[in-house]
């Protein structure tokens, strides 16, 4: 493995503290890995939400994992551009969200994507499928749930509430 590949493998073991079955790679938080001139790996991460309380814990966990893997001098830093978007969650990450009972964000080419990051008012995605039974007969309960990045919905078919990772 080349150095960046080896480092990527380490990063893929760093969990998100709030959704621990997803890694920071699954979430698309790794902007890039380069090697600084002194040979130290430089890992650039994208913060998800401005106020995400997990941001600093993630940086610390990343440094710890890299140190344990033999990169004690690794530089881990957050950069703000490009702005992280839920479109960056990988296919594997979306599958893992679904396996955890969290509906992945409506994504990729839906009309709301084009409107994103403009001043246009947000509209609800009409039919977020239930991650338990697959029914599209669901309704929003709360815009914010256990974390800022998720909303709370309920499935009218199976009656279960579920979390929805909001497109942002």
């Amino acid at each position: 493995m080349t150095a960046p590949d080896a480092i990527h493998a380490v990063l893929a073991t760093v969990p998100d503290p709030e959704i621990p079955n997803l890694s920071i790679v699954d979430l698309g938080m790794v902007h890039r890995v380069t090697v600084a001139e002194n040979g130290a790996p430089l890992v650039e991460l994208l913060p998800t939400y401005s106020g995400c309380p997990a941001t600093e814990a993630i940086a610390a966990a990343t440094r710890r994992a890299l140190a344990q893997a033999g990169y004690p001098d690794a530089v881990v830093r957050f950069v703000l551009t490009p702005a992280w978007s839920s479109d960056r969650i990988t296919a594997e990450g979306r599958a893992k969200l679904e396996a955890a009972g969290i509906a992945p964000p409506a994504c990729c080419g839906t009309p709301s994507d084009a409107a994103r990051a403009t001043a246009a008012p947000l509209t609800y995605h009409p039919t977020i499928p239930c991650p338990r039974c697959g029914s599209r007969n669901t309704e929003p309960l709360s815009e914010f749930s256990s974390t800022a990045c998720k909303a709370l919905l309920r499935c009218r078919a199976c009656g279960e509430p579920f979390e929805y990772f909001k497109p942002i």
């Binding site: 600084a36 702005a83 008012p121």
Partner: protein, 277 residues
């Protein structure tokens, strides 16, 4: 602290994303510093007010929503104040700026420091403010200042969720019972005159508009009115008449409420100087 880290790390010459401090003339730099305080203090103080709802919201879901509003706002404040401190170059970090200034040094718009009042008032304020911020952040995304543009790129997405959630409550309460309607209308009547300050301007605003760093505040007045009008109409609320009243928080002249908010917000840093988590 992550932006501090970003600014302090030796820039990698090949890294197009590593933001270094732009090279401004002293007047522009000073104007941008003050502008960042105006923006950063507004989201900081509203975040502080919003966090007062923790443990007091009417239902659990709104407890979560208000806590998340506060988190987003304080996260935005951290980025803005960290950048302000770096730009100023006097060694002040986000905590120094947030917790160790005196009242007249804060530059938040006055509406953000007003007491929460009841739930209707909190939601009306948040809807009016978030609707303004969505427009402002959207414009700042194309700021000539790369760092401000990057912060705006994140914040605009968050502000849109705030606008939708608070706007939903404005409609439900305004178009609800006679009691909820009256409380919501009273909140709107009280708060409306404080919105005029958002569109007032001075030499700093003119200089930054000229440099393409920030839109001229007055340019947002008409779009903001257009944005809030349909929601207020749907909520069966009467738009208050124009008022000659002007607040001056952006100029450091605050309401009597600011003096009560600050001791609570600053308590920990005043009692334990330099304390870290």
């Amino acid at each position: 602290m992550f932006v501090t880290e970003l600014l302090q790390t030796t820039p990698d010459p090949a890294a197009e994303t590593a933001l270094t401090l732009p090279d401004y003339d002293p007047e522009t730099q000073a104007a941008l510093f003050r502008y960042l305080l105006r923006l950063g203090d507004s989201v900081l103080i509203l975040g502080q007010r919003t966090s007062e709802w923790c443990g007091h919201a009417p239902v659990l879901e709104e407890e979560m929503a208000l806590a998340n509003f506060g988190l987003d706002l304080i996260g935005q404040a951290r980025m803005l104040l960290t950048y302000a401190g770096a730009l100023e170059g006097k060694g002040r970090d986000e905590d120094t700026l947030a917790f160790l200034r005196y009242e007249h040094e804060y530059r938040n718009v006055t509406m953000t420091e007003l007491p929460n009042g009841d739930f209707a008032r909190t939601m009306v304020r948040h809807f009016l403010f978030a609707s303004w911020m969505v427009l402002l952040w959207a414009r700042l995304q194309s700021s000539a200042d790369p760092h401000l543009a990057a912060i705006a790129g994140k914040a605009v997405k968050e502000a849109r969720y705030h606008q939708r959630h608070a706007g939903g409550w404005v409609v439900r309460l305004g178009d609800g019972t006679a009691l909820s309607h009256d409380k919501t209308q009273a909140a709107l009547d009280d708060l409306w005159p404080y919105t005029a300050e958002w569109f007032e301007s001075d030499e700093d605003d003119a200089r930054l508009a000229q440099a393409g760093i920030a839109p001229h505040p007055g340019e947002l007045a008409a779009p903001w009115r257009e944005t809030v009008t349909p929601t207020l109409a749907e909520a069966q609320l009467r738009m208050p008449p124009e008022s000659p009243f002007r607040s001056h928080g952006r100029w450091g002249r605050h309401s009597e409420h600011m003096g009560h908010l600050l001791p609570e917000m600053q308590y920990l840093q005043r009692a334990y100087p330099g304390g870290k988590w």
